[in-house]
Homo-oligomer: 487 residues x 4
Amino acid sequence: MQEEECVNGDAAGLDALLADLAKVSNSRERASKLFQWLISPIPAKSFFKETWEKKPILVQRKNPDYYKGLFSCAEFDRILRQEDVQYGVNLDVTSYTNGTRETHNPPGRALPYTVWDFYESGCSLRMLNPQAFSSTVWNVLSILQEQFGSMAGANIYLTPPGTQGFAPHYDDIEAFVVQLEGKKHWRVYNPRTEDEILPVLSSQSPGSCRVSDATALCLFSSPANFDQAEIGKPILEVVLEAGDLLYFPRGFIHQGDCLPDTHSLHITISAQQKNSWGDLLQKMVPAALEIAMEEDVEFRQGLPLDYLTYMGVQNSDKDDPRRTKFFSQIENLMKKLINYAPVDAAVDQKARDFLHDCLPPLLTPEELASSVRGAPARWERGQVMDVGAQITTQTRVRLLRAGCARLCSDGEAVHLYYTTDNSRVYHKEELKSFEIKAENTDAIEFLIHSYPKFVTVGSFPCDSADDRITLAELLFERGIIHTAEPL
Amino acid sequence: MQEEECVNGDAAGLDALLADLAKVSNSRERASKLFQWLISPIPAKSFFKETWEKKPILVQRKNPDYYKGLFSCAEFDRILRQEDVQYGVNLDVTSYTNGTRETHNPPGRALPYTVWDFYESGCSLRMLNPQAFSSTVWNVLSILQEQFGSMAGANIYLTPPGTQGFAPHYDDIEAFVVQLEGKKHWRVYNPRTEDEILPVLSSQSPGSCRVSDATALCLFSSPANFDQAEIGKPILEVVLEAGDLLYFPRGFIHQGDCLPDTHSLHITISAQQKNSWGDLLQKMVPAALEIAMEEDVEFRQGLPLDYLTYMGVQNSDKDDPRRTKFFSQIENLMKKLINYAPVDAAVDQKARDFLHDCLPPLLTPEELASSVRGAPARWERGQVMDVGAQITTQTRVRLLRAGCARLCSDGEAVHLYYTTDNSRVYHKEELKSFEIKAENTDAIEFLIHSYPKFVTVGSFPCDSADDRITLAELLFERGIIHTAEPL
Amino acid sequence: MQEEECVNGDAAGLDALLADLAKVSNSRERASKLFQWLISPIPAKSFFKETWEKKPILVQRKNPDYYKGLFSCAEFDRILRQEDVQYGVNLDVTSYTNGTRETHNPPGRALPYTVWDFYESGCSLRMLNPQAFSSTVWNVLSILQEQFGSMAGANIYLTPPGTQGFAPHYDDIEAFVVQLEGKKHWRVYNPRTEDEILPVLSSQSPGSCRVSDATALCLFSSPANFDQAEIGKPILEVVLEAGDLLYFPRGFIHQGDCLPDTHSLHITISAQQKNSWGDLLQKMVPAALEIAMEEDVEFRQGLPLDYLTYMGVQNSDKDDPRRTKFFSQIENLMKKLINYAPVDAAVDQKARDFLHDCLPPLLTPEELASSVRGAPARWERGQVMDVGAQITTQTRVRLLRAGCARLCSDGEAVHLYYTTDNSRVYHKEELKSFEIKAENTDAIEFLIHSYPKFVTVGSFPCDSADDRITLAELLFERGIIHTAEPL
Amino acid sequence: MQEEECVNGDAAGLDALLADLAKVSNSRERASKLFQWLISPIPAKSFFKETWEKKPILVQRKNPDYYKGLFSCAEFDRILRQEDVQYGVNLDVTSYTNGTRETHNPPGRALPYTVWDFYESGCSLRMLNPQAFSSTVWNVLSILQEQFGSMAGANIYLTPPGTQGFAPHYDDIEAFVVQLEGKKHWRVYNPRTEDEILPVLSSQSPGSCRVSDATALCLFSSPANFDQAEIGKPILEVVLEAGDLLYFPRGFIHQGDCLPDTHSLHITISAQQKNSWGDLLQKMVPAALEIAMEEDVEFRQGLPLDYLTYMGVQNSDKDDPRRTKFFSQIENLMKKLINYAPVDAAVDQKARDFLHDCLPPLLTPEELASSVRGAPARWERGQVMDVGAQITTQTRVRLLRAGCARLCSDGEAVHLYYTTDNSRVYHKEELKSFEIKAENTDAIEFLIHSYPKFVTVGSFPCDSADDRITLAELLFERGIIHTAEPL
């Protein structure tokens, strides 16, 4: 595969790769290359065809430096020292000993003095949102989210030698376990039943953490425990070493423990949480029914006067021809319901959720120089300099990233939703948007569909040159577009 | 029609009819006879086939006493004098003059002193829940609700000579306008558009009153006003006289005004509010989807990685084969969804709503004597008498009314819901229910399906005689069953 | 005492007394006479001087008919039969056996069938708001509240022979135990400590019921239990017989049990709940401080920069002259605070609470005939009659009751608060009031201070005859005033 | 004054001063020296005696570098570039032109591109919590708060030449206006009335911003506008130049505008918000009354039965001896109330509020090295190093700052409240505390009162050596104490 070679040709690790990727003009292509690097040498195409959501896969590389630069224990230590890491919010201290899973979080800030003490006494450490503390993790995830089309999350796990931090469990996300340092002994098990294939929720999720705005950081954690006896024999057992990758779909039970002689540091990258066809239908079906009731009188007709006398659970054993007729009418209406399904509008609802989940882009130096964040306006020597750099009709612009903005309609008004003011902390900011007037929707669509090409502001399909520039300035100020050349 | 004749044979008016009906053993039959009386001489069967939800119909009887006893201005006066009628809650004072509709409610209790003063100055009076104040209205509606299978409501309208109280509008209920005293000039108009046939909401309902627990009494009132110019020509114009009936389906615009020389008193009886196939589907479809997601992995599979790039409103004009495939999968899933539709469970949800809406039964003297409310236990001459009247296995019992209790399952437990402790005031009481243990569900079903026959407690399909008696006592204490003979 | 004799001269019991009292023009005098009857032959004056809030007192009359007509077991039975009495809301079923106090309330309506069954099995019955069901109790309490100047409440207790329904406890109200039927053996104990003299809350009140709008009916019930060992020897032990009275102040522990051979029915009438000087100060003191801060700069001056270094609990043992100075300044400010105390405004806050607690007046036939509720406007023979009975400047009016309305200022506006639209159910209605314009406050004060004299509407100190009549009509419509002669 | 000379001897500006102050062992002394530098050459003692809360004062230094290093336009620019400054939250864009005050905040992040554009078009910029962005401002305020004994706040104002950003107004804080760059023309006016001397709220505060947890950053801003005509003649008019200081108490109206030829940058440091005797009394008086009601039966005695007939606003003109007696009893109780005033407990409530308001300390390198944040535990070369540095009974410790922790009792339990985990963002963190067991309170008091002396852990008045070390470890882990030598 030409592409991968190109990407992996440089042996200098992730930093060099990211520098190379910064030169890839199209962010979707960039995402695809980074993902290929992640699972190399498995070709992405065959991965998505044969493995994704289907079965675990293992890549053993005998190259401890393959993922170098992504994260390290040194970085872990730096973060504890320099950032405001809070126990229970950003960091969990856990143990799994003699079949018992415990959490040991004290209140307050997690400082090296106490964290490393827990570690020395055999506790595992889980950092819940490394993307908020590590720019590299942020960068990698913000690129991968364009590949996944759903939120790319991550947790970091550091486990002392000879211990296990978590009980066997399954998650509700596709998991890429990337071994960063040391080694870990993994066992993966098949879903126990049909119902646990690609499950909606983690194992025993009532006791587990669900994603909510309130407890946002615990993305795929704390599923409740299986006993060793309930899970059968592993279908895969391996000692993962630095540079290795283990992927398994949601629903596959797994557990990992450290060998007596070495610690383990890995990052688990996640995708596809609450991103199924059913999740889309949950947004679409009630809307479809509302539309059907507005447009089709058959949905508005009254129920039979006597339906309560032969329908309902207490009548479910009755052999009554009216029941057959009733079921038949339900089936008739359900079939008609398809005709009213607002598929694109429902997709936009999912899209808005995704845009809210997205990490903001980490700008390359070139992107910075050509966007509002790097604009030259500044205070210098007692006065303001280079203010009001002019966007003109000659200025060439494009979206900052392929997926950083999206035009959605709620039926009444059209809004542009965008990710560039999102926070690195999950849902810390509201989803950002502003209304697009009818006369500007064509210009926005033009911009979106032109990507990755730059287009001149003058080419916007607006009513006047003033409108073109006003719109461009607005998009520029919100960080949604950047210019071909620094202003 | 034999039946109607039987019912209508007696010319002595509603009281005599109700006394006769009290002897009809099966409450459903009773309901059917009372409804037949309401619309006589139109046969109920043809009414429901040709008229109901389809078109207005008029019955002119030249018999001012036909509905006598249902309600009267004298009763209106008595209620104001004796009951706690509150302006805005139980009574509205309105006017429609020169195209302007106004409400004139002062705060506080509506006493004859102020109410009749409003009337004298040309205002219309609308009593919102006459069933709470008039036993006859309560009785009639509580019987009719078994015919309708949906809440039977009522408003009373008293209009001074030469005035109009309401602007042209349409409602969201099937309306039976029963002229009680005086005369009223009515005009009825076709729905203006297809969308307004059998509408979900009253005309301009955002400004109008919707049924909610909070404002519960305003059941089908205050729809916003049409100008005379918007509504075209009437399809029916008539002067309704005492004893006449006018029926029109929801969506038909209507207005009524008094002739210069006489007042008008009418009651509007309503049915079919929020009782359409679509209302049932609103309960069923989300549940169907939940079940489908649990049982069918195809609903749990992830969306295509790139679906956001070709789906959604901003891509809706794209001619992309992936769109076709996406739509096709949606259609496939929607079709499969039918298989997971929990029709009976959804009907039970509707049934529970209806049971909560139901008026409690007004007991006949015989029912009273044979049920808990008339049990002979009492304080007499310094001591308790006739306490603990024994239900034995010989005792013959049945439901108090065909529809007064219903067995529903919420998936986990089975509950018996019942209407006998409901209030005459809409939703003043919570919906009443209690859990039925698994070993008693057969006995409850047996009871329900045995109606109108009495069965001995000993014949209950329970495990032991004690269980039979305990169950019977519980049902008796809640007023759900009565005995063939007074205890 | 002339008065009492006059009142008690007629042996025909309470009904006759109430009929006599109806002729007493001044409602305060009426209240005083009724209270005198309650405690007769103790003179009210000496009672309030020597006994009230000080010690128990016993009146044994050897006249079982003395309180006849107030309440009876027959009335209890009638109420269960005819009114909507709900377990837990209006009726408690209790027992105290072998030192254990239990409540046995089932859900739902309390019907004779179940209530008398509980009674027969040895349970006590407590009816929580008999004034809502018994017109006589309502009448008596509504009169007594004018004597007490605080809410007059009542509970009814019916106890089977040989049983006890409640554990020893003390209440937070002045209690008048009126024996109605049968006998009860009572023991009363001194408050155990100084702190329990005239206590703010019932014994162990966290577990007990406090008056709140939500649970309003449980007025002085459910105080937690003392063991027999904790309460010492009774200071009073007696068998109360029908016609006897036992009074004890809040804080006195008490328990009552039935002799083996006879049941007991008594009513406890209560007063003085949350009506202490301290309760008034709680309303006054924060307001005083707010005023002081507005008017006196010394209250606005900053605290010493270093006060946290020598004040506070951690410094409380320090012997520092700055502490002395600090205390001295606090004392200085507290003394000045008295000057800003808005005593009358705080009394008005208490008054408003009382007006909200008040029972509405039960009208005598004469009051009815001369007030809005008895106004002759009516529907008769197809038309409205006697509507718009005119109030003229000649009409003589007065307040319906001495305390039925009160003028209060909240600093900005003046409102008239009134009790005539209150409910017999505690706080079921909001406190009623309306704003009085500045030009009408003199007229309102004139009316209030003229009571019990009737005054002509023409004598109101208003600006014009129209204003006088408009004001009188408003007061008449709200039931606040009645006329000397029926309109 | 020896001290000041010492502090001001070094001409190298604020950085050098802060470095010197880091060597001052006692944080209170440090605070006092820094405050002296702020107002130099006015002696602090005479300032607090003659000026503080009394009148404005001006210090003109002819030394533009005096405050150098505190803040600058370059720092402003850096913050916009590097920090997440949000319009409306951290930065306001304002103008005051032709008597009209406007705010121009767009939504979203404040970037140089837009901020400097506003500035160029004549808008003023107010940064609302510079302490969150500038370490120097944080350091200075965190030191000064120990001098003030109340929250030290700050806003930054940058005004373009020839403009004015705010209308005349007064604030509710003591204001130290420190001119940093350029010049500003100031006019200060006397409070207009007695009531506006040391006011509780800013001018027209309903329209203005009040401190609340929600809008926390706007500490003394947005008071409403006076017209020039309402404020009379200034008592002080001056052109403030870099290095100058202007102080004025709360209530003094002020306005500042830029000369045509130069911009102005100043910081306003604030103190004494809601820190008056009255604020303390608001916490103390309700508690005093509660205690009085518990301990003194006179507060629990019932109000006179008839008090509502002669007290209250409607009776306030009455000449009734009972009124005199009533007032007299109120006065009596108010006087007694003083005896129950829980002064120290109320001070502790104020103290807790202050501890919550406090900025966390900015640690000197020495403090860092000897406290938990600088503890040597770390990840190094594949393993944890220097973990578990032992605190022994020999270890010498003290509080990190004089006021960083405080022992308060809520009557039931004793808690230690502390500032060391506070956030630089106002109230972003909850107030931190933990319970101190009874056996450890002496040790905590010993520690607090020993400051600034170091004491050995072995000298703690605890029951055992283990207890001493456990307590010391806990305090060390929370950052409340540091050691004499790095562990």
